[in-house]
Subunit: 336 residues, 2 copies
């Protein structure tokens, strides 16, 4: 109904633009293969009774359902000159799927709202869609719905749904005497951003971790089964996210910095830039690892103990080697 | 992690900007009252076990779940000089809640991703959030999760979840011999847009229908209980949306134009602009009424019969008084 001055003038050498495909064509491109991976292999998710194509998707859950939403905006969360469309799609899925994992749930389905300028090459949109489906299928989930609209910037808003087999693992469940353990990378995505910001493309491992977080799929259910007290995914930085657990649980979380060995790639970035490896490890966000608290002796395989939960307190917080960390604990949009 | 040059310079006389509130403060503003209406009355939705504040919301459904997502973008779906923030929030909720209704489901919960320039007045964001909650509560639902990010334009991406008491009412279920019936307004939102586009603010009823669609909450469940064959909400225009039913069901949908009386407000817009009332009624979108097919004699109260479902055919489509409608059937983004 609005002024529909679709701008076809910017058509370059990248094949048709999304303006030429139309809204419904693009929605089909994004959601039409909901039941397959990008490579065409079928993904069967029995909870999905009806995929895209009607007013809503229809799902049938046997346990409680978790749901979360996170949007990626061009220039804020990704740059098209740094990341491929596939990588952007994967990241948009991953940041949401990590939240599902962090509740101790199994990812089931994604819904995607895709907004873009009319002159965006169709291939960018479909590659992004392939990335979304690829990442979803790595987590055992499928894309069940979508919306497409015009906007000045590319924006991908994803909602993830997951299913619990038991009670959710909340931020508020950390118990004094438990240990804190991590599964996944720390500081890699932040190191990758430092590298990219300075115009470099290596070390490749950290650059790739920045472009597509390596979420430890399955670790959320694993932690829940091991009776994890509290859990969160590391999106803003270890100290910032442990701070959420500390405040919700009214405890002090003690991190032992010696339990965080410095990987070679972070050491390389540190040597080249002067940023301390500890700062990357403790405050770097966007890795979407999982950090959880466990009773001692119940830490699952592949989780690495990095600290302990102290007594209940009215002054909750995070300590590194017994002291308050000096400096920013993480990153917020809209603020320095 | 990204270049976080929050722009505080544009601070005007509208109170603090969202940049000064910070991401977490704004998320709390948007989602923190998830269990109340904008006026503070509690909304108890027993399916919501855990609202905002953790990595995910937690819900418990007894029947199948429907889910849908739709985004509103400034300049495409609303203008801040035409609509108040509250109206934009209400519309963002309504367009999604209408999709839940159109499956025959009961709305339960909304998740909201809110993107805005850093200098947006905080009051605009919180008023928008109040609008989202007000509209949700009219449908019996609550806001259970949110995300806030920076962007050049205001964009509100909403996911709605609903619950079915029986099988979903799909687009594909129209049966030859059924009647077509509508509940809600037709053409009002389009007439409102025509009026606003020409710089007028009246007739007020159509302007208000454009700014906040009047979704007939509860009518979806009512139609499902009456055994509706197919159902859809009128977002793109009656003919366009009936076309979806016709193609999915492989039938011809016959609309009787005499069964669509012209309301006074549409007649007024028609007289002032020369746009025929039939065009507004048949092709105007954004009213988010419900149109469904029923066995004759099973049309629920308050639904108005406007046509019939013809025989199965390999050439499905919509006919008005027996003929193909000449002209556009509806509206698509990205295209004229």
């Amino acid at each position: 109904m609005w002024d529909v001055s679709a701008d076809n003038s910017a058509q370059g050498g990248n094949g048709p633009s999304i303006a030429e495909t139309g809204e419904f064509g693009l929605i089909r491109q994004i959601t039409g293969h909901g039941a397959t991976t990008a490579s065409g292999e079928p993904v069967v998710v029995p909870e999905v009774l009806q995929g895209p194509g009607d007013d809503c998707a229809v799902l049938q859950f046997s346990g409680p359902v978790v749901s979360t939403t996170d949007a990626l905006v061009e220039g804020v969360h990704f740059r098209r000159d740094w990341s491929s469309a596939t990588e952007v799609g994967r990241k948009a899925a991953a940041v949401n799927l990590a939240d599902v994992e962090a509740m101790g749930a199994r990812p089931i389905a994604l819904l995607v709202a895709f907004a873009a300028p009319s002159d965006l090459p169709l291939k960018w949109a479909t590659d992004c869609s392939d990335g979304l489906r690829t990442e979803a299928s790595e987590a055992g989930a499928v894309v069940v719905g979508g919306d497409v609209t015009r906007s000045a910037e590319v924006m991908i808003s994803v909602t993830a749904l997951g299913e619990l087999a038991g009670p959710p693992v909340l931020r508020s469940g950390a118990q004094p005497g438990q240990v804190i353990a991590i599964r996944g990378l720390l500081g890699w995505a932040a190191a990758g951003l430092v590298v990219l910001s300075r115009g470099f493309r290596s070390p490749r491992a950290v650059v790739e971790a920045q472009k597509v977080p390596r979420v430890p799929y399955g670790a959320g259910v694993q932690a829940a089964a091991a009776g994890a007290g509290a859990m969160i995914d590391v999106s803003d930085g270890l100290l910032a996210d442990l701070g959420h657990i500390a405040r919700a649980s009214q405890v002090v979380c003690n991190v032992d910095s010696e339990a965080l060995p410095v990987p070679e790639s972070l050491q390389a970035v540190s040597s080249a830039t002067g940023i301390s490896p500890q700062r990357l490890l403790l405050t770097g966000g966007e890795d979407h690892s999982l950090v959880a608290t466990f009773d001692p002796g119940r830490v699952p395989a592949e989780w690495q103990v990095i600290g302990t939960v102290g007594e209940r307190t009215s002054e909750p917080g995070v300590r590194v080697d017994g002291a308050v960390w000096e400096g920013a604990q993480g990153y917020q949009h809209f603020r320095q």
